[in-house]
């Protein structure tokens, strides 16, 4: 009888301990409302939002069936329109090379 009481107590103790281990510690990751109150964190959060917006936009404009490289590089007019002007290199060499 005593033996079974001890076993029940031990079982309850283990249950209590495992419950304690699962509970979040007070010093763990900051809670969202507290973080949001920090100006830096607000900026970071908005950047994250902006990036995800860009990703959404590019997901709309990027079509996986298009090879953008050849699409542009086979289009003479597009290449003319987007060409960066070449810097003129002054040739100071004199005579045959």
């Amino acid at each position: 009888m005593l033996k079974s009481k001890i076993l029940i107590c031990l079982g309850l103790l283990l249950l209590l301990l495992s419950a304690c281990a699962r509970a979040p510690a007070a010093t763990d990751a900051p809670q969202e409302p507290a973080a949001a109150s920090s100006p830096t964190a607000v900026a970071a959060q908005s950047t994250v939002l902006e990036v995800s917006k860009v990703q959404e936009v590019s997901a709309v404009t990027q079509d996986e069936s298009i090879d953008y490289c050849t699409d542009c590089h086979t289009n003479k007019q597009k290449l003319i329109d987007t060409a960066k002007p070449e810097e003129e290199v002054i040739n100071e060499n004199q005579g045959e090379g």
Partner: protein, 388 residues
Amino acid sequence: MAPLEPWEKVLVDADNFPQSIHGLNGCISCHGGVQSADKDTAHQGIVSNPSKDPQAVCGTCHPDIVADHANNLHSNLVGYWTVLDERSVPKSHPAIDEAFANHCSSCHATCGECHVSQPNIVGGGFVDGHMFNRTPSMTQNCTACHGSRVGNEYLGKNEGLKADVHFRQGRMTCVDCHTGNEMHGASADCSSCHTGPVDSEVPPPDHRYDGIQAPRCETCHANVATGDDDVIMHQMHGSNLSCQVCHSVAYTSCDGCHVAISDKTGNPYYSTDATYTTFLIGRNPLQSYERPYQYVPVRHVPVSQDTFDFYGLNLLPNFDKLETWKYATPHNIQLDTPQNESCNACHGNPDFFLTADKVAPEELKANQDVIVDTLPPLISSGDQIPSR
């Protein structure tokens, strides 16, 4: 060669390239970058000349050719160092290294600069809409770099001088004589023509006129070598004269190349003192089993004792160890030339020979092995033979 417009340099052949074997790989597999409709995004991390690292891109499918890359003069530029090492001493090397990096190292060709684009040194740009050409274009690749001497001679661009007969009548291009093996720095493989011992590969030559003579005129003109062509001059001179001694006309020589960094722009530049055409026969300083000739044409190369003075004084203290009038194989072959009109057109004629009076006093010592001291004697009228 007219420079290409910026768009022209990068315009891909829409009809053929995407379906070609290289096109099917996709641009990014070689060039990197990003698939994007936005140009700046698409070009992030792009590699404009992927074959700068041939092992990584070309070597996947062409391992046999890339394996020779270390020996390829187009890539390793060892030819420069062969002569610079000879003329300098180790103490000079740091300064010469700097000069080399500024002025010489751009004279270099990757796989793509022969098979896809014009060389960067002339501004680059696709030769054929990014199609990979097995055979490089003679004018847009080979003579784009080898233009001022070989190109001008071969194509007849020197005033008053005809193009090489192999071009004029044969319409031959560079690769008709200069094989891919030679261009890629592969070792000569005797057994490719002469079946026999398996282990017949010879090491790559140390310099242009070292080792097996390839190309050689007799490969096509075999009857000259065997004496079956009834040309008495061929039989008389046998192997004493290189073919060019009788069959070249005047070619370009240059004097006094100096290199420096511009005060105005900060860019490296060179200047040469003089460029002129001559035809001069000298003694062969590189006589060997393969090149037994007593006489060869000689061309003045633009090196001078003070070429690198901008980078330090007396950087070529062993200047005299190599001649400045170099063994040459001009690419302007003609059947009839002024020197082969008759025996005495050449024999006893000082105009055709590099005699001491034609050499700058400060270069006499360097050229002692090529200067002709005694002209071949005149042939008496009774001994004259018809040229052909």
